[in-house]
């Protein structure tokens, strides 16, 4: 279950944010978040609510790990 989309925060007004993905904009509630968000941050939006913030450092580390996994093989 749980279609959730990474969307970027464009503006914040109280508990509401305007969020965007691929140029598509939709209001989302921030009331479920326990992390502070600011304009420019990415959040996972599910059913009109931000449920979690995305961590760019972790995302890069994950991609790095994925690349490492097959690099030795490509060289061999």
């Amino acid at each position: 279950m749980c279609v959730g989309v990474p969307m970027q925060v464009i503006s914040i007004e109280g508990d509401q944010a305007l969020t965007e993905v691929d140029g598509v904009k939709r209001e989302a509630s921030l009331m479920l978040l326990d992390q502070e968000v600011k304009v420019g941050d990415f959040v996972i939006i599910h059913a009109g609510f931000a449920i979690s913030k995305l961590d760019e450092e972790d995302a890069k580390a994950t991609l790095e790990l994925m690349r490492e996994v097959f690099e030795p093989e490509l060289m061999g």
Binding site: M1, F49, I51, T62
Partner: protein
């Protein structure tokens, strides 16, 4: 950073596929991993990931589609409510086609019931605020990802002083059925692909007891294709080394402790109860109903209706399919009596149900 495209990289997916094949090459008995969550099931079909995995790795689908596990009785009550005057049912699109004992919401809509598909429970609250003469019932289904959004809608309705917004709640929680599955001697699963967004709420710590009690590897995995492949790779490594611990593949979103605020909201608005699961039965403490303090918003208490007598569908193997014991093609109804246009069991109803996905993409 583009958080979608970066994780849909063809070369990465293929590289991970090669690595999985290398790791498992020559294994006699395939490694069986269960994706517990329906959104994983959809992603695996949508990206054709099964075709990229070696025969030594088998993925099976578990009970994690909330629409699939919603019992007949719930639909029967929703349908009975939809027949009340001045009542609007609001729902996620997935629920429309789910059959109850003798009808479905889609059929009731064709007969004139006011049933509206919304994207967010807050849209349902907006409809209630704009139509004070109507009673607006939201169908609260879903796991721990969705339940907090419904809790949020109840708090919003309360804050606005609305007395015409109600929720028919049948939320489910994830760890309990995983424990039941793990304890099932007929079922041998070598690892769980744990849900992505459920875990964003409950945290990866929630799976530790599974590793401790049942020695089964758990990897909290994202929904993009590289995520799924990496999750499988991490599970294969654990399984081959005889390990069983919780790992977080989806670390850009999921934390060990989860989302404390959302957990607090769940504890505030809902109370755990012994929920019935379609095809599985009643599982102790596996559901969330509305807490007494919010009883005025509980459609079951506030809007009493006569509900028709429960009828279960005959011959449908949904229960076994949900547990991953039987493949969709093994059900005698699959593709004949039971198709996405005319579903018998809930696994065919939801577009992410195991049978619907197998029918749509698998053949």
């Amino acid at each position: 950073m583009n958080y979608q495209d970066s994780f849909r990289d063809k070369e990465l997916v293929q590289g991970l596929a090669r690595r999985i094949a290398e790791l498992t090459r020559g294994r006699k008995k395939p490694l069986v991993f269960m994706e517990v969550c329906g959104t994983h099931t959809m992603a695996i079909y949508q990206y054709g990931l099964r075709s990229l995995l070696p025969p030594e790795v088998k993925l099976i689908s578990g009970p994690g589609c909330p629409v699939c596990v919603t019992p007949n009785g719930y639909l029967d009550r929703a349908i009975a409510l939809s027949r009340l005057p001045d009542l609007t049912i609001t729902t996620f699109g997935d629920m429309l086609r789910v059959p109850g004992s003798s009808s479905s919401l889609m059929e009731e809509r064709a007969k004139g019931a006011d049933i509206r598909v919304v994207y967010s429970p807050l849209d349902a609250v907006r409809i209630a605020a704009a139509n004070p003469a109507k009673r607006v019932v939201f169908l609260g289904v879903g796991f721990e990802t969705t339940a907090p959004t419904v809790a949020g809608s109840i708090l919003a309705a309360k804050a606005q002083g609305l007395s015409n917004y109600f929720v028919l709640a049948s939320h489910k929680t994830m760890p309990q059925p995983m424990a039941i599955l793990s304890a099932d001697p007929d079922l041998s699963v070598d690892g769980y692909i744990c849900p992505a967004h459920v875990s964003a709420i409950i945290g990866a710590d929630a799976y530790r007891f599974l590793c401790a009690e049942y020695q089964v590897p758990c990897v909290v995995t994202g929904f993009e294709p590289t995520d799924v492949m990496q999750g499988v790779e991490m599970l294969a490594r654990q399984a081959l080394q005889g390990e069983s611990r919780v790992e977080i593949q989806y670390s850009r979103v999921v934390r060990w402790e989860g989302n404390a605020k959302a957990q607090g909201l769940l504890a505030e608005v809902f109370t755990p109860f012994d929920a019935p699961w379609r095809g599985i039965g009643v599982l102790p403490g596996s559901g969330l109903r509305i807490a007494d303090a919010y009883g005025e918003f509980d459609a079951e208490l506030a809007l009493p209706v006569q509900v028709e007598e429960l009828k279960e569908h005959q011959g449908c193997l949904c229960g076994e399919i949900l547990k991953g014991k039987v493949a969709p093609g093994d059900c005698p109804l699959f593709g004949g009596k039971c198709t996405p246009e005319s579903p018998v069991g809930a696994c065919m109803v939801s577009s992410e149900g195991t049978c619907a996905a197998a029918f749509k993409y698998g053949r």
